[in-house]
Each structure stands twice: as C-alpha cells, then as structure tokens.
Assembly symmetry: C2
Homo-oligomer: 549 residues x 2
Amino acid sequence: MTWEEIAKAKKASVDDAIPSEWRLEKNPTANKVRNVGEYLDETLPARENSITSCTVTELAGKISRGELSAIEVTKAFCHRAALTHQLTTCCSEIFFERAYKKAEELDEYFKKNGKTVGPLHGVPISLKDQVNLEGIDSAIGYVSLVNKPKNKDEVSNIAKILENAGAVFYVKTTTPMAMMSGCTSSNIYGYTYNSYNRLLSSGGSSGGEGALIGARGSPLGFGTDIGGSIREPSCFHGLYGLRGCSNRLPYCNVTNSFAHAPVLASVIGPMAWDLDDLKLVTKLIIDSEPWMDDPKVPPIPWREVTDYPKKLCFAFVSDDGAARPHPPIERALQMCKDALVAQGHEVIDWEPPVSFIECRDLGASIYGADGYKEIADECAKSGEPIVREVMVLAGNGTDLPIGCSHVHEHWEQNKLRYEYQQKVDKYWKSTAQQTSTGRPVDAIITPLWETCSFKCEDIDMFSSAYSSTFNILDYAAVTTPVTTADKTLDSKDETYTPISDHDRAIHEYYDPELFHGTPVGLQVVTPRYEEERAIYLSGKLRDALSERR
Amino acid sequence: MTWEEIAKAKKASVDDAIPSEWRLEKNPTANKVRNVGEYLDETLPARENSITSCTVTELAGKISRGELSAIEVTKAFCHRAALTHQLTTCCSEIFFERAYKKAEELDEYFKKNGKTVGPLHGVPISLKDQVNLEGIDSAIGYVSLVNKPKNKDEVSNIAKILENAGAVFYVKTTTPMAMMSGCTSSNIYGYTYNSYNRLLSSGGSSGGEGALIGARGSPLGFGTDIGGSIREPSCFHGLYGLRGCSNRLPYCNVTNSFAHAPVLASVIGPMAWDLDDLKLVTKLIIDSEPWMDDPKVPPIPWREVTDYPKKLCFAFVSDDGAARPHPPIERALQMCKDALVAQGHEVIDWEPPVSFIECRDLGASIYGADGYKEIADECAKSGEPIVREVMVLAGNGTDLPIGCSHVHEHWEQNKLRYEYQQKVDKYWKSTAQQTSTGRPVDAIITPLWETCSFKCEDIDMFSSAYSSTFNILDYAAVTTPVTTADKTLDSKDETYTPISDHDRAIHEYYDPELFHGTPVGLQVVTPRYEEERAIYLSGKLRDALSERR
C-alpha cells in the first residue's frame, strides 16, 4: 500500500468506528456551525447534556451514590465525542465497545461490592494519541506507525494509574505529526479544528484533546507539552491545563518524539473544564507514588497548599517582545489585574533578565538538536512527506535545520538552559524587594499565545515565546480561562506602531469578527516543582474573576 | 612559559605554602613509612593527635562548649594536612593563613555572642579541587586552568552552605586530569599515593580527599563521583563515602569536566571517618533547601529514617562477572554476611537482569560521548599531553575513542540507560518474593573495586563495573569500611581457574605482602533518592560488624 492508502484507510477506520446512528448525515459548514459545544447542547437529549455538563468530581460522586451508572455516563460521552469528532476531527482512535465493556464491569463490581474501585470509577477520560493502550496504535501522526498496536508491556504507566482508579478510556485524540507543531495536522487526519470556532485551529500539539474537551466530548483528558502543547489548546478552548515540571507526572511508556533527548523533556499533564478536577487527577497520580515505576520521576509527594498567605502579589507580562497580544488577550490581562487588585492583592510587572525571545530561540535549537533526523527517518519509512506545519520548525518550511554538528554543542545548549534558569530564579527571588508582601511574587501571569488561535494554514506566522519560555525554565504553569473574544469589546488598536515586521503581521492578523466567541486563557506560573501552588493560585484567579463578574 | 614550567611553578607554590617549620627535612621512602596515619600518630604532639582523632561531631561539640578554640583545631588539622601532603601529594591548594583568619573570626564571634554560627562552627573541612572558592584556582588537573582563580560569583553553592554552618576551609585536594580516572594523576602534581599504603594509589578521582582524610589530615571532605570517584578512594582509605543520587546535593558552581553533559551526572558528596558525621553534613546541606539556589536539585527534604523494620534482608554481590575480587574483599563480604546473619538478618544473592559489565560499558560510552573533545581541547591550550591514566579510558591508552557520530546516538545511550534502570528497578521489587521479610531486599552490598588499590602505574588493568553500575542505575550508595587486608588471613586461592585473561591478570595481581594493612570497604546500595536509608543501613552494617568483633 502507498502511504496515501494507509493514511486513508486509517482515517476511515476511525470514522467507521462511530455507530451509524451517530453519524451526521450532513456535516454543517464552519460558517453555519462555528461552536460545536453550543450546537451539541441544542441537538442532544437533555439527559445526555446533563451528564456531559458534569465535572469529574460530580460524575464520580453520582456514580458512587448509584445515581448514575458507568455505562450511561460512558455512552453519553461517547455520543458527544463521536459528534465532536465529526465536526473537528479530534479523534485518532475510537473504541467505544471496549469502553462499554469496561463500564459494565465497573457497574457490576459496584453492584456486587457496594463500592467503587477508586475515585474515578466509571469516569470517561480521553487520552492524547501518544498514551499507549494495549491493542491500539500510538501513531502520533506518522503513517509509518499506523497498524502497529501496542502490547501489554507497553501500556503507559499513567494509563494504568488512571485505570486502577476506575477511569474508562474510549478515545485517543489527534496530534500533529511527531507532536512538533502548535497546529494539529497530519497526513492521516488532516487538520483538527477548534471546537469553539471551527474556522480556527484547535492549536497543538494536544489539539485533539483541546477540541474534544472544549465541546465536552470528554470531562478531562491528558496532553503533553514540550513548548506549549498542553497550554495552547487549553487556552484556545477555555480549559485549565497543567504543564507540570519535568517528570513530576510519569511519562514512562508514553510514545514520544525524541523520547530520550536528555536536555529538554516533554511533560504529560491533565486538561479539564474544571480546576478542581485538574487537582483531583494530579493529586491522584502523585499519590500513587509514580516514582516506584518510573526511574525519571523524583519522589516528591503531593504537598497540599495550606496556610498560604492571604495577601498575594502577581507579576504580569503584557508582551513577550516579539508580538503584542491581540486585543482580547490584553483585555483578559486587565480583567485579571482588576479582579486581583479588587481582592486586595498586588500586581507588578515581570521584567526577567532573560527575554522570552532568548528562551524561545534556545528551545527551538534544542528541539532541532538532531536536525530532525528522527522525523525525516520516520517519514522515509512510509514515503509520506513531512507536513508543512512541522516543516515550519525549520524556519518557514523551506528546509530542515542541520542540528548540532557535535555532541558538545548539545551540551552547550544544556549549559545555556541552566544559566537561564539560574538567572531567572535569582530574579524571581529578588522580587521580594519590590512587593509589599515581603515575599517574592507568588506567581507570574502571562499570555500563552499572542492570538486566540489562528487559521490552520497560518501556523507559520507564529512563534511561541510566551509558552516555550516556561519549558526552558521548567516552571509549573496552569492555564486559566478568563473570557472569550468579543467583537464589541475588543476593537483593533489602529494607533499602534508595530516594533517589527513580525509584530506588524500579528497586529494586522486581528479580525474581531473571525475571533469572536473564541476563548481567552492566560497562564499562572509558579517556580519549579510547585504544581500544587500553581493549581492553588489558578484557583485564586478563578475566584477573583468570578466575584468580579 | 611552557606547560612544564607552569606545572612546576604551581606544584612549588603549593609546597611553599607549607610553613618551613612543618616541612619534612627528609621524605621517608614508602618502604620505610607505608602508613602515614600511624607515622603521624607517632611523631605529632599528643594534644594535636587528640584533636585530629575527633569526629566532626566531637569537634563541633568541644568548640561549642568552649573546650577547644577554632584556631587550635584548625592549626592541628593544618599541621597534619601539611605532613600528609608531603607524604602523599594530596593537596592541590594550601591556604592555611586564610583558614586561621576565618577560625579567629569564629572564635571572636563565639566569645562575643556566647554561641556558634552554626553546627560546623570551627570545624575544618577539606574540598576536592573542583569546589570553587574565591581567589583560588579550580584547575582540576589541567595546566591550562592554573592561575585562573575563581571570583566571588563563582563560589560553589555547597561551599557557601558549609561556610554558613561555620566550616573552615584550609586545603583543596588533588584530582586526576579532568577527574576522568580511578587513579589520581596529573601533569601538575604527579601521583597521589594511598595514605594507608604509600606503595599504592590513593584511587580517584577524589584521591586527594581519600589520602588526606585517611591520614586524618581532615575529619571530613567532599568528593565527586560519576563512576566511583567518591567511593573508590573511600574504600581504599577505610572511609564512609556517600554517592547520592543525581543532584540530591547541589553541584552548582562546582568546576567539572563535561559539566553540562545531560545523560549521566557526576554527583558531589561527603567522605568521612565517621558515619554520623557523614549523616550530619548530608542532612545539614539538604536542610538548607539547596533547591532554592540550584535549578537541578529536586525539592526532596531530608526524610529521617524512623520505625524501620527490625528484620532486614541484604542482597550480596560476590563477583561482577569481569574479575573475581581479591581475597581480602571476599573475606570482607563473608564478614558482613556473618555479622548480619548473627543479628537475625537475612542475606540473599543479587542477580540482576542487567549485568555489571553492561552497565560499565554503557557508562564508558556515555563518558566518551564527545570523543573526549573537551579534554583534548583543554590540553591543547597549554600544550600538555593527556596523562596516561586518562588515556586509559580509550582502551589501553592507545587513542581516544571517537564518541558519538550523531546527537541521535547520544539519545540512544540515554534510552538504554533508562531501560537498564527500569529492568533493575523491577527486579529489585521482585525480590520481595525471595525474602522472608515479605519486602524487597533493603539494600545491596557489593565490592566497590576488585582490589584494595593498586600500584599507580597499573590503573589500566582495571575496570570499574562494581562502582559505575550504580551511577548508571542512579542508586544511592554508602561505602562502609569492613576490615584491612591481612597477609596471614588473606592467602591467594591457588586452585582458582580464571574465566578470562582479564580475570587472570587481576587474580595474579594479588600480593598478600603488598596489600597488607590496606583498608577494605564495601558499598551499601539503596534505591534512587534513598540516601537517608543508605546511611541508615550502612550504620546497621557497621553496628553488626562491631558487635561481631
């Protein structure tokens, strides 16, 4: 078979896994149905809508009290996921029958024992394509990896932990080829669209998760992030997404690009509608002592945030120096400042000694340390071309970079990263001299991306300095939904003089009509290994915004 | 100046830093004075011997009660260090006047405030040459780095922590060129000899520390270990030495070879006569929260071992598959088994799924990933030749290996390491099925080296599979002194049939007369990040041996 035939057959097999009664006869255009969630709310039965609007905590509670069965919950999410997939192409694998079987087993267990198997008993959880499940591909956007199902010994540690807690798996979600793009695109599935705004990209690389959870086809899922891949789709879909520090959560047996590149690690983490759900699963995973089964995980137990000081100080970033954020994002920043100040907190500016651009550029050089040999080799196996969105990494898609000419250069990248970390850590501590709390700032709040998504074909316009900076620094970050773009509030600043061609291009890209209704999120960033604090302070921001409304 | 002139002048400047009244008129031959500690005990004043025979805890206690002054303690150790240096060449830097000044300041502080500055107030601590101090070289055995004193901003984090606790620094100690040898040798200082047996090597790369502490010219010092460099000199000198897991103790601002090589990290750790001292300083450093100032240190607080089960099970390694250990080491293994069994503990064999030889070979390929370009470049700066003991790395000193031809190969090394770690971790857990305690074995006890040192010129005979295996696995290990080689007890096994030429060469190398009186240590190994447990169980072994005597 040619690569085209393999890709086509794979895509068809996923679509065919949807029961015929759930197939859309006619797929409405993006102009007709922009917002998938709203559309589904209007068209699905009330009882299903009621189930799929529950948080993980609510679902688990209802199931544990016998108010809902695991099978009913599973079917409701499968239905909604099937429809979301048809409207966004968010699923890379669909296995509803297997999910029903698992849910029925759980219901039987509950009936027999009068108790649940764990805190996620019967709760559907979606997984990015990288997470290995027995008997299912982890093709991560490569034709060469299609029809190579994972075996029992390859199952991801994190999947085992979730399954032991009672989670029901039913879909895996799309990634760009090799996960190396902020736009989800592969030769197998094409583009994955934003479920809030089908004219725009779902982002990436956890774009399938973003689109699926964004339309509530899943209450919570897992993505990965080496340069923003959890956070970008989370922001683009109004979700909470955790980029924990390197290896705080176990990546063991998760299929990955450059899986053993030692300088900068991708991390795995949850994406969810609800912050308490995000905390629940993060704590659950850490409480399972994942370091017992993954040599890379440091043995840091969950440290509940208690007795945190009442008055807080947040440092804000308004611009990464590369591109001024679009008006909805600037409004979101102001909303956060106002809400926090209204609560008696303090806000200052974040002016680090290492720029966002320097961090982004170092990240790009580390990603490309092998000259993307692995991507080229993997594509060569099937004959498929490298997708344009991944080629962008090389600089406007003309050619792949050559990478390090010597191992020693790779070590120098590691040195530079360590220097950046030390400098910014020192600066963070020094902010104690600026705050009225006498402590360093409690968290940084920054845009995650300069826009609220983009048209899929425009990915090469963007850099990810806001996002990848915190991969280089290895700080913990939780995206926090703030608002949605509003054409009546977010007008273009016609007086602005851009600082560069890039800045001008981004500035001119703003189209109030196009972005209208798209979510706007920011990230709340805390120091290394302070995931607990990042989640806690994201909650403080959520509460402040909520009281302000 | 030629490199020879620079090296000679540097060596002379160190020797000249010894006050004339402490200079040996005639340096006795190794045949005449084999054991430096014994010789000094016989020749030094009783009061000095009394001081230098104290542990860190005893010294700190006496100083804190006003029974000893910091200056008297410092002078006693300086005197003993000066003599030990003349008999072994263990010091790379001598700065007694600076130490006296510091000690006098501490005494003044104590007099004025009636209290100490910290738990190490007035205690002399020695440092391997790598540890940066203001105004002093960290030449790490390179002529090119001579006369390049470190500035204030370059001072090692660990030195600051110790100094804040009241430690007095007075010497730095020799390393082989680039620290890349198990025998301490450089073009600046020549060989560093074993202070228990001047016919033999001090080991390496923390050979200067080993020789100095071995003769009690220091109560406690710091070495580093990427393949056995703390543990080998510790075993060769009857010391407790801790190889903690990667970055448990802060390496920040410690001069290093391949400082930013990301796959396998060198670690810094204490070496001491007394295990309680080892625990004291390790806890002190961790309690200082070193992760606040070193991005590489995971925030794992000191976790005191309490309520540890009474009945223990230890797994023993008698042979690494490359070379049978010499008779004194085999006797030490048997002594430990007998002593532990006498205490009611259990002993089983350690039979891991990844061999010591596989781990050693992977280590060697990782060390050489850059083809030792850095060493060649650094030597080229001064024109000095690479010392033979470092050339040995390349395989019998004929040429340097070529390293990785592509960054991707380096990543493959990282992958293999991770696989080895997972396999051995899994095996460790599976030992629960073999023990009568129902738990996996509590620790492994293994030789650290196949011999009790060697003649300096013979380093190329040895591999370090016993030691470097635990760098690859990143387990915690504490060397534990067991006995000394005894020609009357440790006779050669004339019936043994070696399994290889290498095994034969090692077997034939045993000379009861040559090794007589040399210390024999073993290592107590615990899982990753279990430094507290490794120290605790080393104590259990120490106590069991002590009760058996």
